[in-house]
């Protein structure tokens, strides 16, 4: 059949006998752009390389690496929980307020037990995890059972958790934090070099990254976000799973609250109004799709560090640090645009 006879019926005849063979394997670059977190990891490496070239002595140092990662540690814990929620096609705006509330309850619990020492610190940790999980559970229950959109549910609990923290404290930060907690978790370092905050955050990211990628819990999380109806028909209890995911995000926000107490030695009630947006930004830059079903914790790790490296690099290279906000905003929009391209190509 000649090229000229390219009419519709001719095309049908000329087509191979089998549409199943139509798909071509993707070129390597499409796979990079389309799927894994490698792409965003390369951007991070590129940024680090750029700052290292411009300002080798100040940017490339153990102390500076420590600064960057300490600043990023607490956000990474929040963003890890946020990753799970966004993969279910949800969103959690309440994380910063839950962090504050859990921190307040943790401080109160430690105050109530009294003293220094490991026992008190552990009570504080359990209290933080419990109260964080409670708000998370409430988010999940309202999303799954009352079927209220996650944006509104977590916007509501965002206000409620912060309000409750203010009511409990009378609006005054709790400063009675056991010094042992600040001295170990807050400012302590493994081998005198690696801050415990950073180690805890990386362990959390690693454990939950594996949970997401390798376990049934993770598989259900992707399935619920990809096609909740399909998950339901496959016998997955979608409601129960959603509640678990939001509770997990709450527990991790609680852990972040406890870490924040350790780091700052106070409940920092007023300091977490934009944690939700920062964590969502990190997760989305990391390649997790707001439409659900796609994402990884590794991507989120990169997504947390890109703004942190930009901030630090601009300061060190003498660029006005306000440029960081502009750059992060642009990266965020670009990340979502790439996600949409990937989806439209596939449908």
């Amino acid at each position: 059949m000649s090229e000229a006879a390219n009419t519709a019926p001719a095309e049908a005849i000329a087509a191979p006998d089998d549409d199943f063979d139509r798909e071509q394997p993707q070129p390597w670059w499409a796979k990079l752009v389309g799927g894994s977190s490698i792409w965003i990891g390369l951007i991070l490496v590129g940024l680090i390389a750029a700052f290292a070239i411009v300002e080798p002595s100040n940017f490339v140092s153990v102390a500076n690496a420590r600064n960057i990662s300490t600043d990023a540690a607490i956000l990474l814990v929040l963003a890890t929980g946020q990753t799970f929620v966004i993969i279910t096609a949800g969103i959690d705006l309440s994380v910063g307020s839950v962090l504050v509330f859990a921190g307040v309850m943790s401080a109160k619990a430690m105050d109530w037990v009294g003293g220094e020492g490991t026992g008190t610190i552990v009570v504080g940790l359990i209290s933080a995890l419990f109260f964080g999980g409670l708000w998370g559970w409430l988010n999940g229950f309202l999303v799954a059972k009352a079927r209220i959109t996650p944006l509104i549910v977590t916007l509501g609990t965002f206000g409620m958790a912060l309000g409750a923290a203010l009511v409990i404290t009378g609006g005054i930060d709790e400063r009675e934090i056991p010094y042992d907690l600040i001295d170990t978790v807050g400012t302590g370092r493994l081998f005198g070099e690696i801050p415990w905050l950073v180690i805890i955050a990386l362990v959390v990211a690693a454990v939950f990254g594996v949970l997401l990628a390798k376990t049934r819990f993770g598989r259900f999380t992707y399935a619920v976000g990809s096609n909740a109806e399909a998950a339901r028909r496959a016998g997955i209890s979608v409601d129960r799973h959603l509640i678990k995911v939001y509770a997990l995000a709450g527990v991790l926000a609680g852990l972040a609250g406890w870490l924040s107490l350790a780091r700052f030695g106070t409940t920092t009630i007023g300091g977490h109004a934009t944690d939700n947006l920062q964590s969502i930004t990190a997760v989305v830059i990391g390649g997790t799709s707001l439409f659900g079903g796609i994402g990884s914790v590794l991507g989120t790790v990169f997504g947390v560090f890109i703004p942190a490296v930009l901030q630090n690099g601009f300061v060190i290279t003498g660029v006005q640090p306000f440029w960081q906000q502009i750059a992060v905003g642009a990266v965020l929009i670009a990340a979502v645009y790439l996600d949409q391209l990937r989806r439209s190509r596939n449908r």
């Binding site: 049908a12 087509a15 006998d17 089998d18 549409d19 199943f20 063979d21 139509r22 798909e23 071509q24 394997p25 993707q26 949970l211 390798k214 376990t215 049934r216 819990f217 598989r219 992707y222 399935a223 976000g225 990809s226 096609n227 109806e229 399909a230 998950a231 028909r233 496959a234 016998g235 997955i236 799709s289 659900g292 079903g293 796609i294 989806r343 596939n346 449908r347």
Partner: protein, 259 residues
């Protein structure tokens, strides 16, 4: 009628199902014999989808009986129907597009790793992919890259994945709700071949379809539903398209054996 001598694999007797004031099924009968392809046809609103959902455990009947191997059963959920080896390929396929084909095959029934890891909830993706690939191969579902997500696949391939999933878990009956409605000519051919291959494995196929030539080609028998009742049954070779359409529209009245 030779079919009458065998014990039906799956049978609905006098099923009544109403939704509010709408009586979707008004004493419907339906029979599936082992290892056959039976077409369930009827005009829009005849009750086909309701009947399928009843037989798949999605709806429970208001009246009437379901029988598996001649024994009465009650399905309170799709899980009960599955336990009897009954699977459904829905029209929307119910695939998680962002997941790989093998993850879809095993969704909710994942293969776990052995030993401690399995107890901790780790899944064995390699094994699922290996078995999935084999299952696609055996069924003749051609997917070039089974590690890509379902979203990257054509409509025919998606249909193939959905059918492979149903066949993988169905011991007895696979329902296919208009499997070719959204497909082109070539893809339709593939799905029809797939139906015959499923039958070769001894699994009965219930084909819900509007496409009469397609029905005549692959179905061993045809059962016609009209206004919530079975109005006719035909054997392959003894029926013309005009007769089926006549029964569907009520232009030709047939005697229904039962009830």
């Amino acid at each position: 009628m030779t079919a009458g001598e065998r014990t039906p694999l799956l049978e609905a007797r006098g099923v009544v199902k109403s939704f509010g004031r709408v009586r979707a099924l008004r004493g419907a009968n339906f029979t599936v014999y082992p290892g056959e392809v039976v077409a369930l046809v009827g005009d829009n609103g005849a009750g086909k989808s309701t009947l399928v959902k009843t037989l798949a455990g999605v709806h429970s009947p208001d009246e009437g009986q379901l029988l598996v191997d001649g024994r009465p059963v009650a399905f309170s959920s799709p899980v009960d129907a599955r336990a009897h080896g009954i699977e459904v390929v829905y029209q929307d396929l119910a695939l998680a597009a962002e997941l790989q084909p093998s993850a879809n095959l095993y969704l909710g029934r994942e293969i776990m790793r052995r030993g401690l890891l399995g107890k901790l909830g780790f899944i064995d993706d390699k094994e699922m992919k290996r078995r999935g690939d084999r299952s696609f191969h055996d069924l003749g579902v051609r997917i070039q890259d089974t590690s890509a997500s379902v979203a990257a696949m054509s409509g025919g391939q998606r249909q193939g994945v959905a059918v492979a999933r149903a066949v993988m878990w169905a011991d007895r009956v696979v329902f296919m709700d208009e499997p070719t409605a959204a497909l082109g000519v070539v893809q339709t051919r593939n799905v029809l071949d797939l139906i015959l291959r499923v039958r070769e494995r001894g699994i009965a196929v219930v084909l819900i379809s509007h496409n009469m030539p397609e029905v005549l080609e692959v179905a061993d028998r045809v059962e016609v539903l009209r206004l919530g009742r079975r109005v006719a049954r035909f054997e392959r070779g003894n029926v013309t398209m005009e007769e089926i359409v006549g029964a569907m529209t009520g232009a030709i009245e047939h005697k229904e054996n039962h009830a």
